[in-house]
């Protein structure tokens, strides 16, 4: 089975939204700042719920934040 990777544009979107801090994003989606750091580094794949919450904060569809790559 080919290895699938989930990449994301969270860092880019944060800067596009008034240079939102990791702390602010974390508070708005209900996770820790360390989880945002892990997400941006591609070391953690979020749950569907967290992925949708992140997308909602930026006002974009979830596929604009997270990309599935085979």
């Amino acid at each position: 089975m080919p290895k699938a990777e989930i990449s994301n544009r969270i860092r880019r979107l944060r800067f596009d939204h008034g240079e939102m801090t990791q702390e602010e994003l974390a508070n708005r989606v209900g996770c820790t700042r360390q989880t945002i750091i892990a997400l941006e580094a591609g070391k953690y794949v979020p749950s569907l719920s967290l992925a949708f919450q992140v997308a909602k904060v930026f006002g974009v569809p979830v596929e604009d934040v997270f990309q599935y790559e085979e």
Partner: protein, 145 residues
């Protein structure tokens, strides 16, 4: 560092501290002196119950700081704890099998094992449990950033 990571470091400290304290007590007084030494038994019980209480208090992590937005424990922490639990289970099982094999081989000729080893096994199980969870959590954080 997340509260869970701090807890893991505390667990590591408590586990190593308990192991050293129990080891020092048994080396200083001798394992078999446990049978007729009430003071040694009392010291052992205090170290075990004390360590267990510190660990239990450290287990309590709130999801959010009271009255604040900052989140202290989230889904990633929960996943790391879940994986660490598997490390705990395997570590305790392996330690129990090692004790069983070691004691059986050591006392095979006598056909009986000193009663003290019931406590030693329980204490070691507790220490292995605390250490394995702490190590499992710290490894989990290292792997997932």
């Amino acid at each position: 560092m997340t509260p869970l990571q701090k807890r893991a470091w505390l667990g590591l400290g408590v586990g190593v501290g308990m192991a050293l304290a129990i080891g020092a007590v048994f080396i200083a007084r001798g394992v078999t002196s446990f049978d007729d030494d009430l003071a040694l038994r009392a010291i052992t019980y205090v170290v075990c119950v004390g360590g267990l209480l510190v660990w239990a208090v450290a287990l309590r992590i709130r999801r959010r700081k009271p009255g604040q937005l900052q989140v202290l424990f989230d889904e990633r922490d929960k996943e790391i704890v879940r994986r660490a639990t598997m490390v705990q289970v395997w570590a305790v099982l392996i330690s129990l099998f090692i004790w069983a094999i070691a004691l059986t081989e050591a006392y095979w000729g006598q056909k009986s094992i000193p009663i003290i080893y019931a406590y030693v096994i329980a204490i070691s199980g507790l220490i292995v449990n605390i250490l394995a969870q702490a190590i499992g959590i710290l490894i989990g954080y290292r792997r997932s950033g």
